[in-house]
Amino acid sequence: MLSPPTTCYLLLLQAHRSQRGFFEFPNHGSPQAKGDKTNGSDFGYVGIDAILEQMRRKAMKQGFEFNIMVVGQSGLGKSTLMNTLFKSKVSRKSVQPNPEERIPKTIEIKSISHDIEEKGVRMKLTVIDTPGFGDQINNENCWQPIMKFINDQYEAYLQEEINIDRKKRIPDSRVHCCIYFIPPTGHCLRPLDVEFMRRLSKVVNIVPVIAKADTLTLEERDYFKQTIREELRANGIDVYPQKEFDEDAEDRMINDKIREMIPFAVVGSDQEYQVNGKRILGRKTKWGTIEVENIAHCEFAYLRDLLIRTHMQNIKDITGSIHYETYRVRRLNESNGHFTPHPSDHPLWRNLCNCYPMQMFWFFFFKLPTK
């Protein structure tokens, strides 16, 4: 009965936009006031591009969520780096009333949320700390609690998503980004680093950084980075930004530049000093002051730009559309596999398949008909 939708020609509507900025709200004046027209006709402005402004408004109203995990041995400056990145005391250490400087016996996962706002943009930032990682004598399987935590968040999201009566906006506690701190040995990656990144890069976006980079000279730093990149390649570890998720040529170009720079060599600080008449974040030593945001000194600014200013949305998208979906596929196939004998042999399975599409069968295990 329905004629198939015909995709027609690409139509270019004249856009009399010379008097508007990119994100300006369209005026409600009479249709005539629309910038200079060459032929004096009103034909032209429809207003489709106003949807961009509508989207912005909606995003500003809803606010954003971002969940970032920090992993690394104690003493590598994880908390300081977080505080520097977000210019406030977001780390666990700043929040705990009596900071106990003890090394936990097992890996703990501690998650702290903050509500921050900048120029009208509200964000719920969650920093997930992993004290105890890599600190034991025997560190085999130290990724397990972390892997479990990440998968638990995917599970929680999945559970909410398959509810019959579900929330308008599913609370997103999935780990968007995991910053892995590499100690500045200057040589190469340790087995712990390789093992962790190899396993976790399959489930979460990993951003490796060289911690406390002020102990490396520029040459040492370059050599170290090169070695790390080679080792990552040799072990098949795909860190963010992953090559396979580049969307187009422009993306690839930008991301290639980033891939040539990772891991970023960072220095963190939440103390301000006077340098050349300006107050800047830095570390003061007897031989000089390291300016955190100076790209000649360290690569903190690149990390900040990547994580926050340019790629934050992309990081969230990759988490949602790729890592989460991978988890979901695996999880749903697992529940199908519990069914023995093999589904297609059983006569009832065939009967079920006639009523519902085969792909939906996993749904039955989550929510079975109660008749």
Binding site: L2, P5, T6, T7, C8, L10, L11, L12, L13, R17, F23, H28, G40, S41, D42, F43, V46, G47, I48, D49, A50, I51, L52, Q54, R56, R57, K58, A59, M60, K61, Q62, G63, F64, K87, S88, K89, V90, H114, D115, I116, G120, V121, K124, N163, I164, K168, E247, R304, I308, R309, T310, S321, E325, V329, H338, L348, F365, K367, L368, K371
Partner: protein, 426 residues
């Protein structure tokens, strides 16, 4: 359910979330820009459904609204049933790419019996929801590439009778109000005078209210647009005039309809509400229309569909159950159910076998009795034949006896004659 808290916003009062002030510029204020850039790359989708009688001006209005000439077919008034025709177009304005689908009803209001006229429309809308639901429930899905065909806005064209809504209008809108965002418009508004129009609008709105039809309300929760939306809500339904022809007015060319008594300018707000419609539908609320479709209408459809299939979220005691427990419980239930059905089937099988056996036995018996019968007949015939043979044999033997006796007599008589001859010769 009517919660007071708008749960699309992040709940700041969440336990464990504390507000924090920043000591400097971090840079996440670029997030909305990042989001918008992503959307620009992906492009947008918008689907409009136009319901109205044949010839009421649906296609012309779409042309006027989007400033183009969509392929239009003039429909006949003799369609036996209401059909829907969907056409998809790729439009672009500055850097925004829009995939627009316009769905028109064909033959709406033409039939003599209009009782089922709304059904094809409802079915179409449901089909789009179903299609999305299927995609969402797939194991390997690609929601981000999915071409969303769900109807975002439904323009209902009201005939400019000047009196009131037709019962077909009320029935149709009532069926659709929980499935789609309905925006009623008065078509061909240049046939109504201003005073009549005002009364007409009031009448229409009151009829909608008294019949409980929920039309789309322009959203008032964002202060930036609350004022203009409130005003526009008061102008519903929009009285529109569509035209793609240009007429020269003053020193400009404007879209208009030329009559001997004057020129109706489409984009003149004194003449009709076209500009208001365009403003509300496209410039101000397009995103909200899409969102309402997804978060309200689609969710309702999904919930109903899944409940229909028998799914529930919580166990009968209304306590949320952990997945593991639910899974184990359901699995047990399912296996028990399977076992029961298997037993039933086995029983049925045994039953059938018995029945078949009985049938076969019966057939065998019948065969046997027929065989006996035939055998008896055969035996009878055989006896008869034997009897005949015996008689024949008797006949034969008596005949041979008689022949033998006759021969003997003949031989005797010959011998006697021979003797006589001998005697004479002597």
């Amino acid at each position: 359910i009517g919660e007071a808290v708008n749960d699309t916003e992040i709940d700041i009062k969440d336990k464990g979330v504390r507000p924090l002030s920043l000591a400097g510029h971090v840079g996440f204020d670029s997030l909305p820009d990042q989001l918008v850039n992503k959307s620009i790359c992906q492009g947008f989708c918008f689907n409009i459904l136009c319901i109205g009688e044949t010839g009421i001006g649906k296609s012309t209005l779409m042309d006027t609204l989007f400033n183009t000439n969509f392929e239009n077919f003039e429909s006949s008034h003799f369609e036996p049933q209401v059909k829907l025709r969907a056409q998809t177009y790729d439009l672009q304005e500055s850097n925004v790419r829009l995939r627009l689908t316009v769905v028109n009803t064909v033959g709406f209001g033409d039939q003599m019996n209009k009782q089922e006229s709304y059904q094809p429309v409802v079915d179409y809308i449901d089909r789009q929801f179903e299609s999305y639901l299927q995609e969402e429930l797939k194991i390997k899905r690609s929601l981000h590439n999915y071409h969303d065909s769900r109807v975002h806005a439904c323009l209902y064209f009201i005939s400019p009778s000047g009196h009131s809504l037709k019962s077909l209008d009320l029935v149709t809108m009532k069926k659709l109000d929980s499935k789609v965002n309905i925006i009623p418009v008065i078509a061909k508004a240049d046939t109504i005078s201003k005073s009549e129009l005002h009364k007409f609008k009031i009448k229409i709105m009151s009829e909608l209210v008294s019949n409980g039809v929920q039309i789309y309300q322009f959203p008032l929760d964002d202060e930036t647009v609350a004022k203009v939306n409130t005003t526009m809500n008061g102008h519903l339904p929009f009285a529109v005039v569509g035209s793609t022809e240009e007429v020269s007015v003053g020193n400009k060319m404007v879209k208009a309809r030329q009559y001997p008594w004057g020129v109706v300018q489409v984009e003149n707000e004194n003449h009709c509400d076209f500009v208001k419609l365009r403003e509300m539908l496209i410039c101000v609320n397009m995103e909200d229309l899409r969102e309402q479709t997804h978060t309200r209408h689609y969710e309702l459809y999904r919930r109903c569909k899944l409940e229909e299939m028998g799914f529930k979220d919580t166990d009968p005691e209304c306590k949320p159950v952990s997945l593991q427990q639910t899974y184990e419980a359901k699995r047990q239930e399912f296996l028990v159910e399977l076992q029961k059905r298997e037993d039933e089937m086995r029983q049925m099988f045994v039953q059938r076998v018995k029945e078949k056996e009985a049938e076969l036995k019966e057939a065998e018996r019948e065969l046997q009795s027929r065989f006996e019968h035939l055998k008896r007949i055969h035996a009878d015939e055989k006896a008869t034949l034997e009897e005949k043979k015996r008689l024949l044999d008797e006949d034969q033997s008596s005949f041979s006896k008689r022949r033998a006796a006759a021969q003997l007599l003949q031989a005797q008589s010959l011998t006697a004659n021979g003797k006589k001859d001998k005697d004479r010769k002597k």
